[in-house]
Amino acid sequence: MGLLGTIALYAAMWTTVIAISLNIAAGRSGTKRLVNSGRFASFAASGFVFTASAILLHALLTHDFSIQYVASFSDKSMPLFYLIGAFWGGQAGSLLFWVAVISVTLTLCLNANKNRYQDLMPWVAVTSLSVMLGLLFILVFVSNPFEAFHIIDDPTIGKGLNPLLQTPKMVIHPPSLLAGLASMTIPFGFAIAALITKNFSNAWVIAARSWILVPWFFLSIGNMLGGMWAYEELGWGGYWAWDAVENAAFMPWMMVTALIHSLMIQERRSMLKRWNVALMIFSFLLTVFGTYITRSGLIQSVHTFAQSGIGNYFLAFLMFFSITSLGLFVWRWPSMKSARKLDSPVSREAAFIFNNWLFITMTAIVFFGTLWPRAKEFFWDQEVAIGPMWFNRWMVPMGLILLALMGVGTAIAWRKATMKNFKKNFVKPILFTLVASPSLIWSYWHFRGQFLGIIPSPNDMAYSITAVVLIIFATAVIFEETFRGVNARRKMHDETLTEAIVRLTMKQRRRYGGYVIHLGMLCAYLAFAGNAMKIETDVSLKRGESVVIGDYTLHYLGLTERNDPEKLLVMANISVEQNGKEIYKMYPGKAKFYASPMSPTSEIDIKSSPLEDLYVALVNHDASGNTVALKVFIGPFTWWFWFGGLVLVFGTLITMWPTRENQAPSKNIFGKMAKIAVVTAVLLLTFAPLGIMMFEANSNWGNAKRIEKHMLMRGEIAE
């Protein structure tokens, strides 16, 4: 099995070399035969990668412990779900997964454009195949997932997956993030293709733009699930800590967000060509940079399990693609000059440009904050730490400006806003904001906030109130815009309200999909605003004692210990009361896996609702179980962060859904099957975060009971 996998990897590498040569010849000659041949050679290279991936998957599912990777990251007791997760649980597997994602996206992209953009496509293929070649080189010569054991030390059992990664979210989070990072290769390919062919036309924009939404979509899901994992597994009560690896995935996301907005300006106004190409290049380089800092161990992070010795290869990779792409960029600088200028600085275009500058500045701040401690240590031998407070000091005000722009940019007219249409577009949303903001803030405080017994600091309060006011304004603008659009359509086409809403959304998918994405972001901002009222308490309780936090009373009832051959599970039993009535029981716990006793995993219990989350983590306990130390958080509006993520993903789907013009008719059954498979996979992935969240909130999967249940099911412990 291992030998077959290695052969497939070698074949993939050499076929990639052939495909690169054919595509270069096709790109230079423009000969249709070579274009076709190059395309199929790219498919063949991808086919070998798929074959290698299928072999690794098969080895994991059949417990082929003669392969080192299988023995290191799986064991016979792992359920199917985690066995699939083990594919990307280790370094070599995640690299293979990365190559597989590039192969899938390249295959889809080349197939979708098989009769179009024949000047661009060979160069898109050359770029993507070059990235694949680099990764395949590492896979073949440095980190081969099919490396076998010698007969003497062939193990019969596996070591199992890192306990921290054995949660449902971690099975989906890494592939989403990896898919986001890997699929950035295609937009990068389009940037390089434009530079080589000097084609910066609208045809290029149309060809490239849908492939930019793909990495954005996956990075959004990946970042959100990463936040969910940190929130529920790491036990520090938050979903974002400005951890280096979180930052590494967040920076390309911000860059791509900026790019999505600026491409609209290029399409409408033929402006910002240099800017857009630069954004595409830097978004890709940031993904490689992120991988480099994660794999090299350059930066300390909660993701230390991802560190390995291949960081230097990624550094070489980063240098090669930086020099090549930036060299091309400088060479083509004169050809990218834009002919047109802004009609007015007071227009939607101007708002988008300002939004772009903000995103770039925010990316630069995160980049600086991530690297500065390391640079200080390297050059001046001084240790400095840059923590969440430093990041928040910069990012919160900038995030608020961005929020304001989300409202203003949506309401303001394209090309030029006059005083008359300014009044028309802004008066109603502003009036609504002036009425709704104080009413909603007062209602929250009167009916809920005051009972939490916390007065936020003036700074936090100012930020939160500003955020809420701006959220209400931006929401009002979106609804006002939609309402006017629907009315206009009804006037023009004599349609019913439902017909007008559906057809308007179908006809203007990007505009209204974008509005839905903005609504998702507004939900996330509400969660950020709620942090001002967040309660964080460390408590120590004896059996039978209780503590009041906010208006919740937590009674500690006792400790349960469960033991099986692999792990020890300790679980606190806590009854939660509100207004003198028990509302639910909570079971925070800790699991100590004997394979890694130094890193016990926290099984945090969270009761989540749109109003607030009650979050309890078991920090410590004495040997008899009479006393426990708990960390308790009350996080207002945290639920909205996850809900916002779902809305955002839903909006992205509306935007990405192909228009009639873009849909290539599927004549054969394989084409139809492929389409159904892609749509099903995308839908499953979209609803996976919410599905997991709901499943965990309504079952024992979100707390220590899930592990107990698993032990009971396997008969390792008695009832």
């Binding site: 076709n36 199929f40 086919g47 098969h58 953009y117 036309s201 006059t418 006017r484 659009g485 505009r511």
Partner: protein
């Protein structure tokens, strides 16, 4: 287990078909491909103009919606519409010249005669036979 085998089998079939298709363009007669080779530059131009047309049609659609939803005033609407319409007409004219069929075959034949005179010799021989 059967799922992974199925995925593996599909991957292998996909790879074999792709390898065959990579080689197949070089197995067919080059002469039969010549005529299509010459269409490429025209196709590229048509693509560029079609994309331009697509963007301008969308711009007109957006402009109409913005005007109907009273986001822009009438005077601006008229100026912008005229501007976009003029550009769209220019693009359509160019598309019509290439795409409308006028001089299409003659241009290809001239290119073929210049680069591959043997193509015409073979065609003539075919007709004589």
């Amino acid at each position: 287990m059967s799922v992974s085998l199925f995925v593996g089998l599909i991957s292998v079939i996909f790879t074999i078909v792709a390898i065959y298709m990579t080689i197949s363009p070089f197995l067919s007669s080059s002469l039969s491909n010549w005529r299509f080779e010459f269409l490429d530059s025209e196709i590229q131009q048509v693509e560029l103009l079609s994309a331009e047309k697509y963007v301008l049609v969308n711009a007109l659609r957006d402009l109409e919606l913005e005007y109907q939803s009273e986001k822009i005033v009438e005077s601006d609407y008229k100026v912008y519409r005229k501007r976009v319409e003029n550009r769209a007409i220019g693009v359509m004219k160019k598309l019509d010249i290439i795409h409308g069929g006028r001089g299409w075959d003659e241009r290809i034949d001239a290119l073929l005669l210049e680069s591959y005179p043997e193509y015409f010799q073979m065609s003539d021989e075919g007709e004589e036979e």
